[in-house]
């Protein structure tokens, strides 16, 4: 077992009472800076805390993402809720248990080491005492450092972690009304900001008088190129925005239409930054194998649009948002509005599924701006589907070139990887920049600024650009694309989706050109036994998937990746059928994400990660027309439908002794690679421009 290191969140929130609060009642409040985005993380976090406290899961209530109450844990992102946030909670909860049991040992005059807790009852030598954890806790001072008392249970003593407990929040999400969209407090009004058709467009003219005279309108205002509309009902405000959008005249920046995404990105790329240089790359590499892969810009495409509610009372601003980082959003809003952060409080509330930096924060700022016009009245904002496609940040379009030289034994001798991409990191409050879209058009604008992407070790465009395969000579670089008008930021897996695809396609091509088995080629270049294990597992367990292929029409392929090169290991087999389009019929995945706290929760996340990646890889592409995001409705942006969903099997490799590594995002690259490899096997040609649409298949087949 590797000894768990002290979780980073304990630096900002060092005390037990920052994380655990014993109330007057029987339930214990657990505080986390992480937020529930539909991924089930709060269920797993409650399990981890309850386990360490010796409580039943229902005796724990969890409070999350609240600037007034919870620790600031940054963004809930990168599949790190359990691996980092959960470990912090485990430390804090264990420290609380230690403090209580010390007190109990005094009260009982018993050996501390003989004491334990089960369902809140304090046991001595496994036998009941008349003490309850919560009673003993009353009166103790928990405002003491976690690290002075933390003593994690050994894995065998955990009773809740590893249990597939049902999601705490699911009944309400399906049958209740927990979403911000459902909020309707007394006196609430509806607001919308009119967003321009193109990022950076400035408003030339709009007839505000006629707009304001529409029935049901409460207020209309203009601040620079921002027009805000307040109305008594959702339908009235929606109709008013549509009316205004049809009449507003905008000064739109010019940009010629590029012939292809490759051309567009290559033409706008800045100079290469070297990420890693190791050994020597041969200058003459005439026998090199090269793959260039590209990915279209992607939309987050949450089924519920971004929403927020805000209210100003006595100079103080309160916001409800489904942001991934309420503290960062607070900093951003404070900076734009010139407020002290103490004057703002933000509470996380449910939104629809979140897969990265979407429009949640922008909608929150829109609500704050609108609410300032009607102090005392809560203002709710629900974006339109058009705003979701056109105004929210996109997952960046990317271009990755992977080139390698192999020696006479077929081993990798050198590799050179270059990633060209718009930045993946433009979250609110990144490097002090608010990054709120409406703030960029105010009379006193707070513009976006050049992003530095997301630096390694997490990596943005370059996430997983460093091959996990052994290669003695290696060059990895990235070229950021700053000068295109499409707004981009973090979408699930960031650069890992395309980079893993590109590297795996390179391995497939090397295997084909040197007459090696592609699976064996991968295994001979992996030094990490856990990496080999997932590949061997999926090959064995997915054996049936690889049988009885119809030559020329069907194929199977493997994709492997270790997310961020430090996270979960995933090996994926895909079986596909190619007719005019590519159909993925079967997926089998083997995943090692260290300790699994909630196996059903992990499976749900992995299945979801697989299906979303199938959708991205086969279908998804934001359409661009000059400076315009031309994708306006779901009809322009097909995603995977029920009739297209493959059969999926997942083998989890549980390692209770090892730290949890996160899971959902680990699937994106390996799934794309497995599909690409299968297509290569079926057709004998590599198609490396994603998505693998009918047009691309036909063009490649005819070429």
């Amino acid at each position: 077992m590797s000894a768990p290191s002290i979780p980073l969140p304990l630096k900002a929130a060092p005390d037990i009472s920052d994380w655990i609060r014993f109330g007057p009642g029987r339930t214990v409040e657990v505080l986390t800076g992480r937020v529930e985005l539909g991924q089930g993380n709060l269920t797993a976090l409650a399990q981890m805390a309850a386990d360490e406290l010796g409580l039943a899961p229902n005796d724990v209530v969890i409070t999350s993402g609240n600037t007034e109450r919870t620790p600031n844990e940054g963004y809930t992102a990168g599949s790190m809720s359990v691996s980092i946030g959960g470990m912090a909670l485990r430390f804090a909860a264990s420290a609380a248990r230690v403090l209580v049991l010390r007190e109990a040992s005094l009260k009982l005059n018993a050996d501390y080491l003989s004491l334990s807790v089960r369902d809140g009852d304090i046991l001595e030598g496994g036998r009941p005492t008349d003490l309850d954890l919560r009673d003993v806790a009353t009166g103790l001072n928990f405002a003491v450092p976690v690290i002075d008392y933390a003593a994690l249970l050994v894995p065998e003593r955990r009773t809740l972690s590893s249990q597939p407990l049902p999601r705490r929040d699911l009944p309400n999400r399906i049958f209740g009304t927990p979403f911000i969209h459902d909020f309707a407090p007394e006196g609430m009004v509806h607001g919308r900001i009119l967003h321009p058709p193109v990022q950076g467009a400035m408003l030339r003219s709009l007839d505000l008088k006629t707009l304001a005279a529409r029935p049901g309108i409460i207020d209309v205002f203009r601040d620079g190129s921002v027009v805000g509309i307040l109305a008594g009902s959702f339908s009235v405000v929606t109709a008013a925005v549509d009316w205004a959008a049809n009449r507003a005249e905008w000064a739109v920046p010019d940009l010629p239409q590029a012939a292809s995404l490759r051309e567009l990105l290559a033409g706008a790329a800045s100079a290469e930054t070297v990420i890693l240089e190791k050994g020597k790359i041969p200058e003459e590499d005439g026998n090199a194998v090269e793959v260039t892969a590209s990915r279209a810009y992607l939309s987050h495409g949450s089924i519920g649009p971004s929403a927020a509610m805000a209210v100003w009372r006595d100079g103080r601003l309160k916001i409800w948002s489904h942001s991934q980082g309420v503290f960062q959003l607070r900093n951003a809003v404070a900076r734009v509005l010139g407020l002290d952060i103490e004057a703002i409080s933000i509470e996380h509330a449910s939104g629809a599924g979140c897969y990265g930096h979407n429009g949640a924060d922008d909608a929150a700022f829109d609500a704050a701006l609108l609410a300032r016009r009607v102090p005392g009245k809560p203002v709710k904002v629900i974006w339109s589907r058009l705003d979701e496609f056109r105004v929210a940040p996109l997952g960046p379009g990317m271009l990755t070139t992977a080139r390698a030289v192999v020696d006479e034994t077929g081993a990798l001798q050198s590799a050179s990887i270059c990633v060209t991409s718009a930045p993946h990191g433009n979250r609110p409050d990144t490097a002090g920049v608010p990054n709120l879209v409406t703030a960029t058009r105010l009379a006193e604008p707070v513009p976006f600024q050049r992003s530095n992407d997301v630096p390694l070790p997490q990596g943005g465009a370059d996430r997983n650009a460093i091959p996990y395969y052994r290669v003695p000579n290696l060059h990895v670089g990235k070229k950021l694309v700053h000068d295109l008008p499409y707004r981009t930021s973090s979408l699930r897996a960031l650069g890992a989706h395309l980079n893993i695809f590109a590297i795996e396609m390179l391995m497939e091509k090397i295997a084909a050109e040197t007459g090696q088995d592609p699976v064996t080629l991968r295994l001979r270049h992996l030094d990490d036994p856990r990496a080999a294990k997932v590949i061997e597992t999926v090959m064995a367990e997915g054996e049936a998937l690889r049988r009885d292929m119809e030559p020329g029409a069907e194929g199977w392929g493997l994709g492997f990746g270790r997310y961020k090169n430090t996270g979960a290991y995933a090996a994926v087999l895909a079986r596909i059928r190619v007719e005019e389009t590519v159909t993925v019929s079967h997926i089998h995945a083997a995943v090692d994400s260290g300790e699994i706290v909630n196996p059903d929760g992990a499976l749900n996340q992995i299945e979801g990660g697989i299906l979303q990646a199938v959708s991205w890889t086969l279908k998804e592409e934001v359409k661009l027309a000059g400076p315009l995001v031309a994708t306006e409705t779901w009809l322009d942006y097909p995603i995977l439908r029920f009739s297209e969903v493959p059969q999926v099997a997942v083998t989890l490799i549980d390692r209770p002794e090892d730290p949890p590594l996160g899971c959902a995002e680990a699937m994106a690259g390996p799934v794309a690679a497995a599909i690409g490899s299968a297509l290569f096997q079926a057709l004998g040609i590599q198609i490396c421009d994603l998505p693998l649409t009918r047009e691309r298949i036909m063009a490649a087949a005819l070429a």
């Binding site: 539909g38 399906i174 979403f179 519920g304 979303q612």
Partner: protein, 165 residues
Amino acid sequence: MADQQSTEGITVTLNGGQTTISGHDTLPLLHVLREVLGLKGTRFGCGQGTCGACTVIVEGKAVTSCDLPLEAVRGKRIETVECLAAGGATHPLAEAVLACQAAQCGYCLPGILMAAKALLDREPDAPDARIREALDDNLCRCGAHLRILRAVRLAGEVMTAATDR
């Protein structure tokens, strides 16, 4: 806010009970449900009838409610997700969806469950391919499709068993 007024109002049968709504003849049914009647289980997704989040059942057929004016359902039988837990009795679909943990964010589920109910009411023993076909206009972004399909099949089995008895 009053839209085009109808003096007598529009009467519908909503989840088994008669309801009369006045003054909102042209308002989409979704907004009548959510804003006028306070039945917020049905979700707003796109407002264009393209994602299925707002699916309800009208006269036994699954339809999107965001692009359906109230006057188009005058006198008709309407079922919404709220009918799955009506009067304390839980519908097999509601039980199955929780038993299978068939959601991530849950936002698309009410619409999907209505599309599924419209199918199972006619064909409780519908095979997988029929279920997929019936749900094909409903988008799920989190990728909970396989769990949803399992849940619908499970509910169908329960309903089939109940019919056979």
